[in-house]
Every structure is written in structure tokens, then in C-alpha cells.
């Protein structure tokens, strides 16, 4: 077990190193941030001055070394656009993203799981078809479109909800629904397929042969087991919702990490993009690591196989 955990931690560290190197190089091939932070036509002197201020005149390996050092010390450097520590910016936005992601996640589970169960129980029936349409729309309609349609309907025509910003529960409804719908569709699909798999298993057949009521078979025997992969996916999705709700946060001017990332990309704010990606990536890596360890604890075959 100790060896297994050591190996998983090693893989995680390697993933983190590759992620940091990739994002460091990727942001730099997208162009020079000074050309975006200065007005077109800025003097040569201003450009050189700004490049020096941001350390972009140093060799690439020195810049990477400084980035790794700043990551290890947890400060992530200063934002080019905001001129303030990235770590402060990240943690200022984190509560907003946590709030939005949590509500969106609850919504997505409340919608996705029951509709997935219903679709699995009534395969080929009305609810299954309705679920497929719902899923298709949730996965294929772009968030900005859903967001703008919601704003037009609930803000412009009905006047019920504020179009943008943060601060009250009313501000949260439309962005949470827009974000939640996409993930509700994903959760619905997984719940359906997982339920179908479980419903076809031997122990469910046995439960039915024993003459248990259908509600008991589905609710107690099938649903509980079918839920495991859904919860695992939901955990990873929560991290994604926190860190990359870029479009939703931009349309609704929600001050979260997704918008910070959007601004970072727009202005080639390297420290911001690097920090958001590496912190978000670290969260996913840590969640995966914990899941791996938990699986190994629960299922001895996994640790023995490895």
C-alpha cells in the first residue's frame, strides 16, 4: 500500500511538472503581452520599459525558474494587468466561484440524477426521449447563448432578475442555472448508463426474483451502486466549475475565477493564466490522487495489481 501511494504521488508530481511546463510555454507562444497592455502606437521606450518591469526580457529558463519558485512559495508573482499579487486576486475571487459552483452543482445533481434514473427505468419511453433532448440541448447549446436568452427573458421581458453582478441570491439564479444545465446533462447521461448497467446485473435480478417491490429494487439496490461513478464525476466537475466557468462568468459579469482567467487570457497576463491553470490543475490532480487512494483502500485488487 505504501509503495502504491508513493507511486501515485510520484505520478501526480510528474503531472504537475508537465502541466506547469506546458502552460508556461503555451502562454508564451501566444504573443507578447506588452502589445496588448499598451495602446497601439506606444513608443519603443514604453514597450522596452514594460517588458523589463514584467521580467520578459530575461531568458526563458530564468522566467520558468522564477515561476516554479513563486509556485513553491505560494505567491505566483504579480499580475501584469492588475499589478497586484496573483494569489490575492485568486483568493478574492475564490469565494464567488465556490458559491456559484456549489449552487450550480446542486442544481445539476437535482436535475441530472432523477432524470437519469427515470430515463434508465423507462428506456425508450417518453421520459427517456425527453431526457435525451434535454441532454442534447444542455451539452450543445453554448453557455453564452443560454445566458443571453435567460437575460432577455427574465431581465428584459419579465424584469424579475438582475442581468449581472453579484451580491444577492437573485444574482445567482441565472448564472447557476446556465452553468448547472451543462453539467446536469453530463450527470444525467452518466446516471442513465450507470443505472442501466446496474439494472442488468445479477443482484438486481435476484432482488426482483425475491419479489421486492420495484421502488425498493431501484431505490435501494440499483440506485446506490449506480451513484458511485456519478459522485466521482461530480467531484471532478466541481473543480472544473470553480476554475473554468469562463463564459458564464463573463456573460453575467460574475466576479469569479473563470472571469479572472478570461481577463488573464485577454491581456496575456501570464502570471494570472499560469496560476489559475496550475491551481485548478493541482486541485484535479489532488482529487484524482485521493480517489485513487480511496479506491485502493476499498478494493484490495487495485493495490495488489499495481
Amino acid at each position: 500500500m505504501k509503495q502504491y501511494i508513493t507511486r501515485r504521488v510520484g505520478y501526480s508530481l510528474l503531472s504537475l511538472f508537465l502541466l506547469s511546463l506546458t502552460i508556461f510555454l503555451f502562454v508564451r507562444v501566444t504573443g507578447d503581452p506588452t502589445t496588448l497592455l499598451l495602446e497601439p502606437g506606444a513608443s519603443e521606450e514604453d514597450i522596452v520599459n514594460m517588458r523589463h518591469q514584467f521580467g520578459l526580457d530575461q531568458p526563458l529558463w530564468v522566467q520558468y525558474g522564477l515561476f516554479v519558485k513563486s509556485f513553491l512559495t505560494g505567491d505566483f508573482g504579480n499580475s501584469f494587468y492588475y499589478r497586484s499579487p496573483v494569489v490575492d486576486l485568486y483568493f478574492e475571487r475564490l469565494p464567488n466561484s465556490l458559491l456559484l459552483a456549489s449552487v450550480a452543482m446542486v442544481l445539476s445533481l437535482l436535475i441530472g440524477i432523477p432524470s437519469g434514473v427515470l430515463a434508465a427505468v423507462r428506456v425508450g419511453g417518453f421520459w427517456d426521449s425527453a431526457g435525451k433532448v434535454f441532454t442534447l440541448l444542455g451539452l450543445s447549446l453554448p453557455s453564452f447563448f443560454i445566458g443571453l436568452v435567460l437575460i432577455l427573458f427574465f431581465t428584459v421581458y419579465l424584469g424579475w432578475l438582475p442581468s449581472s453582478g453579484a451580491g444577492t441570491a437573485a444574482h445567482l439564479i441565472m448564472p447557476a442555472f446556465t452553468l448547472g444545465w451543462y453539467f446536469a446533462a453530463a450527470h444525467m447521461r452518466l446516471t442513465r448508463s450507470s443505472m442501466l448497467e446496474v439494472l442488468g446485473s445479477e443482484y438486481v435480478k435476484l432482488a426482483r426474483l425475491k419479489g421486492l417491490p420495484e421502488a425498493m429494487v431501484i431505490g435501494k439496490h440499483a440506485f446506490k451502486n449506480a451513484l458511485i461513478p456519478v459522485i466521482t464525476l461530480a467531484g471532478i466537475n466541481l473543480v472544473v466549475m470553480i476554475n473554468v466557468a469562463v463564459v458564464v462568468e463573463t456573460v453575467f459579469a460574475w466576479p469569479g475565477i473563470g472571469r479572472l482567467l478570461y481577463e488573464g487570457i485577454s491581456f496575456r497576463d501570464f502570471p494570472v493564466v499560469q496560476a489559475v491553470v496550475v491551481i485548478g490543475g493541482s486541485m484535479i490532480i489532488v482529487v484524482n490522487l485521493l480517489v485513487d487512494i480511496l479506491y485502493a483502500l476499498i478494493d484490495p485488487r487495485i493495490r495488489l495489481e499495481s
Binding site: 504573443g31 499598451l38 506606444a42 449581472s164 459579469a253
Partner: protein
Amino acid sequence: MISRLLLIAAVLVGAATSATAGEPRGKITIAWHVTISPAWFDPSTAPPQITPFGMLYAIHDALVRPYPGQKMGPSLAESWQESPDGKTYEFKLRPGLKFHNGDPITTEDVKFSFERYKGASTALLHDRVSDVEIVDPQVVRFHLKEPWPDFMTFYGTTASAAGIVVPKNYLTQVGDDGFRKHPVGAGPYKFVRHKPGVEVELEAFPGYWRRVPNVKTLIMRSVPEATTRAVMVKTGEADFGLVLDGPDAEGIRRDSRMQVVSSKHASIFWIEFTEQWDPKSPWHDPRLRLAANLALDRQQINEAACLGFCPPAGVIVPRVMDFALQAAPPPYDPAKARKLLAEAGYPNGLDAGEFAAIPGFPTVAEAVVNELNAAGIRVRLRSMERAAFYGAWQEKKLRGLFMTAAGNSGNAASRVDTFIRSKGAYAYGGYPDIDELFQQQASERDVEKREALLHKIQQLTIDRVMFAPVMDLRTLNAIGPRIARHTITDVWMSPFPSYEDIELKP
């Protein structure tokens, strides 16, 4: 010539200002198109962009700055004088001025602010200013190494934020970071709070020298999505929606309760002919360049992309700038364009390759490309990402024809310096006589003679068809029904309102 003592402005506090009427009242919300950066609370790090001035001129004030009725008006300074030799500028502060925290404004603050400045054009200013001499708490002198006719353009307009005065004592106590967290200035509005990524709240400063602001509370809210900004004005969530796209602005215009107002800042689109100095290139022939100019129906482009708010341009220096030549745009004459192409040896038109266009303005780019093609100048629109375009432009890697735009402040001389003279940072080539004229104007202290020189340069760009100017770029802004006076065009070369003069309806 006898040396002159130029009294630029006298104590005319009442003349340029309107009388204040009572206490500030009400609250307005301004929906910004960008996320407000705390870097804009501190003038010392303001980049060479116009956007930070939308915040700087709310919280801070400068010795000299543009405000309604004044291009370069005495602000914290009640007057200033240029010495007869042009090497010293003496400023006299208004008596009894105070910062928002109650500290008196003295010449110590003026000197401190200039010396800590490290924003746009820092090296230029610090290279040319040899010393800042405090004569007494009210009088300060800037000594230049050589006469510099553009000193006040850089010190007293939006060309740089070097003239903005910050409180030395407060800054020394709280440091740069502390200042960005809670800035203190001498402008019409006091900083109240900043919710990062959401909004900045400001409150009227009753002690502002020009007037007591009409509106008590200003909320500057960051709303990056243009459609959302337009919706906010429609629903009353915001009173100003800055920088709208054409279709959103059209929706606002159709609603009689609201209005669309265009800015009047110094921004302009034009086409570059990068190969005109290459004798082997077809674009070396001025007839082709003229044909491209005549192919553009500028008014149509303006209607399509800008709802008719962006006036067609005849020269690449924006008309609102000092020393700009007020040149009529070339006529739209596609028949003559085709005739010129035929005369130049291209009776069946010319394949001119890819046409890069500044990103963010697809309607303008498509309209220009369509009209060039219709006249026989066959170009293919090349889509480029913002950073890639700016990088290629700056490094002079764009070839053939491309359309660009620039919106930095300054005057005609600064535009010639950057885009027209042969050594300009963005110029693909140039002409020796224009370079010579540029050198002459740089040391010419007689304003009329200098203007004549700069006009001559601009006329030469027209005569030689160096560019194809398209139109001035005006931002479209939505104004909500509660606003009686928006003041969005009242600050020279700024697309932001004169905050203290905004009026709400009773």
C-alpha cells in the same frame, strides 16, 4: 526674437466652470467594458492608454488637465507660465486646496508625484526635465534641459498621467500597495470601496475646486459582455453603458427613453501600404494607392459599422488632436478607381493578396475588403488574433495592405513621430523631406509656425497617398433615461464623462 512670457491661463475659476447647485444627490451606475484594475487608482503606473483616465480623472486631479471648455485647463494650478527661453515652466497652485483626507496640497506633493511617476513616456519626461524646483509651498518650477514645445502636451493632457498630483504624506505612510487598496486624491470623487472584479464605489468630494459634483455616488461596474451592458441600461440597472457594439447600440437607439452618444476621443482607422517604398511592388505606383482610396465608400462603412457616428477621415491624424489637418476624405469614385488601375497596367484588377485587419472590428474590416474587391483590388481578409496582429504590426511583419487603428492621446506631432516619419516605431518607410519637417517642428516654439509645419507634413501624406484613411473611431455609449446631462463628449480627447458635471433628472 524677443523672449516671450506666455501667460497660458489666469485665475478664471468661475469662467470655465458652471455654478454649482446645491448638495450632491442620487446614485448612478456606469457599466464599464473592461474590468477595472487597481493599477488605475495610481497615476504613477498608468499605461499609455486612454482607459485608465476614466478612473484617474474621477479620483485624482492634475496641475493642468482637460475639462469642459478647456483642452488644457488650469486645474490644481491656477496659472502657469513658460519662461522666455522656453526652458522653465512655473506653476502656481490654487490657494486652500486639499486632498480627500484633508491634507493640504503643496508643491512638495507636485514634485513627489512627478518623481515617482513611472508610467507612459517616463523616460521622455525624465530625460527632458532636469529639475523640479520648489519655490515655496504654492509655486513650483520645472526646468527643462532644452526648450520642448510638447512639454505641456505630455504634462497637462491624457498623453501621460505625469501631471496628476498624489498626497506625499499619505503615500509615504501606506506605501504603493496600500495606496492602490485605498487611493486618496484631489479629484471630484472620493474612493469608498473596491470589490475586485465587480465594482468601484466613489462618493462626491464637496471640497473639489471646480464645483461640488451633482451626483453623490458613482458606481463603476465592470461588465465585460457588451449585450449585458446594453440590457443593464434598458432595465435601469445602469445609467451608462460604455462601448457598445453596433447591433446593441441600434437596440438602444430605437428606444425613445434612451440615447446613444458617441465619444470624441483621438482614435482612427486607416490602411497602410507597406510596400510603397519598394520599386518592384505594384504599390510603388501612387495611382494604385489612390485607386484604393477612391474605392472606399467611407460613409457607407461608417453607417454599417458605426451607426453613422464615425466620421470619414482624410488624414491619419484624428481631427480632435492639436495641429491635425482638417482634411476632407477622398471621394467615393469606384469608376475612377478602376480607370486608375487600368492606367497603372491592371485593366482586369489586381491580386493584392491577404489583408490583415485590426481584430475586434469585423464589420469595418469586411466592409473595407468588400469595397476594395468591388473596385478590382482583390484582397482576402486574413483573420488574426489580437496579440498576433499587434506583434506583427509592431515588428513590421505585415505585408501588402492592412488596416489598423490607434487611439493613444497626444497631438499631430506624436502621431507623425510614431506612424509617419521614416524612423517612426510603426512606420514601414518614409520620406526625407517629411523627416526634415518633423525635426523643424520639434524645436519650433511659435505655435502658428509649428502648426503650419505639421499641416504640411499631413498634406504631403495626402499628396503622396501614403495611407488610405478610413474613419475616426468613436465608441458608442448608451445613456439611460434618468440622465439629464451625460457630459461624455465634454472632456477633450477622452471617451469618459466629466463626472462632476453629470446631472440627473429632477
